[in-house]
């Protein structure tokens, strides 16, 4: 089991991670979500032994990794947010490079490369130079490079950033398979639906702190007393938004182009009021949906902002 105990990290005077406690039991898949600058990547870097915490401990099977990170590193695969590959080399050459770094050689190395290429679906492009690959293919190879030494624990830092929906679906399917095979997973993403699909437990992070954690159901319970209303309007009007906030003081209102999201207690019946305010402000509502709570709503409820803000 990988554990973070009161983990903090300061860069000069700025404390980017504050007293984080996390647990990652064997075979479980954990999601870590938070907006940009929340401290996710720094937390991951500390958990994976890349940087030393200012205070606190990371324990692997009960032993601190600060002094001896090797036992963890042997079992750990990390998929970074960046495409950490050599663009001038072929897919196979890249995998061979990372395999050699992990001490694999000869027939074993060749077998592992073939196995990984199959998993990530790049067998037919293995001889092609990486710089000619699409974004999705590079992302898949980026994952493959972390699998050569057969890690039992995989940390993925936003592995689907900037790729097409088809590649994203392929990657999610592949990762889901890893989880089903019993690999422990720590997954960070901006896409809440990815975390909902892959993870059993979720940690929500904001401004360097874990503000909530639990199973998806437990977290959704936090907003079970809430309702989310999505309004599609033809022209967003600043007065309309202001009037909504004034007349519905318990509501959190967020605007994204023509979509207005209102989060508020379930016991209120706001639709009539909302339509009245819209009419007063000459705003035409083209669609209105009352939604079932999602992790996105949990995040909105806890932080007052959307995950991708």
């Amino acid at each position: 089991m990988l554990q973070a105990i009161n983990l903090s990290k300061k860069f000069k005077t700025k404390e980017v991670v504050k007293q984080v406690n996390m647990e990652m039991p064997a075979g479980e898949s954990i999601g870590l979500i938070g907006p940009n600058g929340a401290g996710k990547s720094t937390t991951i870097s500390m958990l994976s032994s890349l940087i030393i915490p200012t205070s606190g401990e990371v324990l692997w099977d009960g032993k601190s990794i600060t002094k001896d990170p090797d036992p963890l590193r042997k079992k750990l695969g990390v998929v970074p947010q960046e495409i950490a590959l050599y663009p001038e080399l072929s897919a196979r050459e890249n995998l061979a490079f990372f395999g050699r770094i992990y001490g694999l050689k000869g027939e074993l190395l060749e077998t592992r490369i073939t196995e990984v290429l199959m998993k990530i679906g790049l067998s037919d492009r293995q001889r092609d130079i990486v710089k000619t690959f699409s974004g999705g293919m590079k992302r898949r190879l980026n994952i493959g490079a972390a699998l050569l030494h057969r890690p039992s624990i995989l940390i993925m830092d936003e592995p689907t950033v900037g790729i097409d929906p088809q590649s994203r679906a392929y990657i999610l399917e592949t990762v889901k398979q890893f989880v089903e095979e019993g690999m422990s997973l720590l997954y960070t993403s901006h896409y809440m639906e990815e975390v909902e699909l892959l993870c059993d437990k979720v940690y929500i992070m904001d401004q360097g702190e874990i503000i909530a954690y639990g199973t998806k159901e437990e977290l959704k319970e936090l907003v079970s007393s809430n309702q989310t209303i999505e309004l599609r309007v033809n022209l967003v009007n600043a007065n309309f938004e202001k009037a909504l906030t004034n007349q519905l003081p318990t509501a959190i209102v967020r605007t994204e182009e023509e979509l207005l999201t209102i989060s508020m207690p379930k016991n209120e019946e706001p639709l009539a009021t909302i339509f009245a305010i819209a009419a007063e402000n000459n705003v035409v509502i083209t669609a209105a949906i009352v939604k079932v709570p999602s992790l996105e709503d949990v995040f909105l409820h806890l932080t007052g902002k959307a995950l991708r803000d």
């Binding site: 860069f11 700025k14 980017v16 940009n36 600058g37 401290g39 996710k40 990547s41 720094t42 870097s45 994976s48 032994s49 890349l50 940087i51 990170p69 090797d70 590193r73 042997k74 750990l76 990390v78 970074p80 947010q81 960046e82 495409i83 950490a84 590959l85 050599y86 001038e88 080399l89 050459e93 490079f97 990372f98 050699r100 770094i101 992990y102 130079i129 490079a145 972390a146 030494h149």
Partner: protein, 369 residues
């Protein structure tokens, strides 16, 4: 280490253009510019027509470093007024005048050579006056036969006189200049690996920082050295360039020079954020170091005191001087230990500072999420 070397070689195989270009440029530039002159410094000379001055001129013409062109005294004066770069001499029976716009090492060396010629002629004249021609022949033969005496005299002369070999000046100059780019571009791989995240992946595979730096730097070093060896071997064994029996000493100095260039490149990448910034700094530094270090022209002809004062800042200066000393001046390795030890010392300091700064920057990458 092998893994990193293999990956770097594969990268080089896919993008060999920089190495090829730098090597070819060195060969072409050194060959073209080195062959454009016979390697001698041209000096205008006017003589008074006496026997002594003719003898002095003959003696001066024996020196390989200069080409003396005889003109009239009037022409010499005119030329001196018009051309501030001109160095001329006026030889009289008992004295001589060196005409130059400013006093420099080259002028001082020329004066030493003329002094020496006058002394030789005067000595010969005195021997003839006392004992006649036969006695002089005996003395001259005895000086020639006495190897120890003869060698000692030569050594004293060689070290004092400014000597110039245009072929070697061009070869060393361009070789030191172009290898700067080759080594720096290779060292930039560290920055590239850090920014792309490959560096972190390697650290997670339990590769120590020492192994990481050593693998990358040793590869960059090897490529730089191979380029220099290639150039030197082509000039020595294919173009038959005279290296004055100092060929292996030059290779030793080249090996030390690559070390200091590598260390400087590490410092540069530790101070910049991107590869393009690093390339700009390296380009500026390479040209500046070559200029003030005497790669483009011999420093002996430089008259600016300011430029001469800052030559110590340039790694090219140490290598250039050391290479010239062990070839043109026919010196031994022990005569260039100052330059060599300066290069090694500076390289160590730059490496330590550069790697420390790079490590601090690695922390900053993590803070910039």
């Amino acid at each position: 280490m092998m893994g990193i070397w293999i990956a770097r070689l594969q990268n080089l195989k896919r993008k060999p253009i920089v190495l090829i270009m730098m090597t070819v440029m060195t060969l072409v530039m050194a060959y073209v510019l080195g062959a454009s002159s016979n390697g001698k410094m041209s000096i205008s000379v006017a003589v008074d027509g006496s026997e002594t001055t003719q003898a002095v001129l003959e003696r001066l013409n024996d020196d390989d470093g200069y080409l003396f062109r005889e003109i009239t005294e009037e022409e010499l004066q005119q030329k001196a007024k018009k051309d501030i770069r001109m160095v001329g001499i006026l030889l009289n029976k008992t004295s001589y005048t060196v005409l130059a716009a400013s006093e420099s090492d080259s002028v001082r060396n020329l004066s030493l050579l003329i002094d020496s010629a006058y002394k030789d002629i005067s000595f010969k004249q005195r021997v003839i006056n006392v004992g006649g021609e036969d006695t002089w022949t005996t003395v001259a033969n005895s000086i020639q036969d006495d190897q120890a005496f003869s060698l000692q005299m030569e050594a004293m002369d060689e070290s004092e006189v400014f000597r110039y070999d245009n072929a070697l000046q061009s070869l060393f100059g361009f070789m030191l200049f172009f290898v700067f780019y080759t080594v720096s571009i290779n060292v930039q791989f560290i920055l590239d690996d850090k920014r792309s995240g490959v560096w972190n992946r390697l650290k997670l595979a339990s590769i120590s920082r020492f192994q990481l730096y050593f693998s990358h730097l040793s590869f960059s070093y090897a490529i730089g050295l191979i380029q220099m060896l290639l150039v030197l071997f082509v000039f020595r064994y294919i173009l038959n360039t005279n290296m004055y029996d100092g060929f292996w000493n030059v290779i030793f100095i080249a090996a030390i020079y690559v070390l200091i260039v590598m260390a400087f490149s590490v410092l540069v990448i530790s101070l910049v954020k991107t590869i393009s910034q690093s390339s700009v700094v390296i380009s500026l530094a390479a040209v500046a170091f070559a200029m003030i270090g005497g790669a483009y022209w011999p420093l002996e002809i430089v008259q600016s005191e300011g430029l001469l004062a800052i030559r110590w800042l340039s790694p090219v200066y140490y290598a250039m001087e050391a290479m010239k000393r062990v070839t043109v001046y026919e010196g031994t390795l022990s005569s260039v230990w100052t330059y060599v030890s300066m290069m090694v010392g500076i390289a160590i300091v730059l490496l330590v500072v550069g790697i420390s700064l790079l490590e601090k920057r690695t922390e900053r990458y993590h803070s910039s999420e």
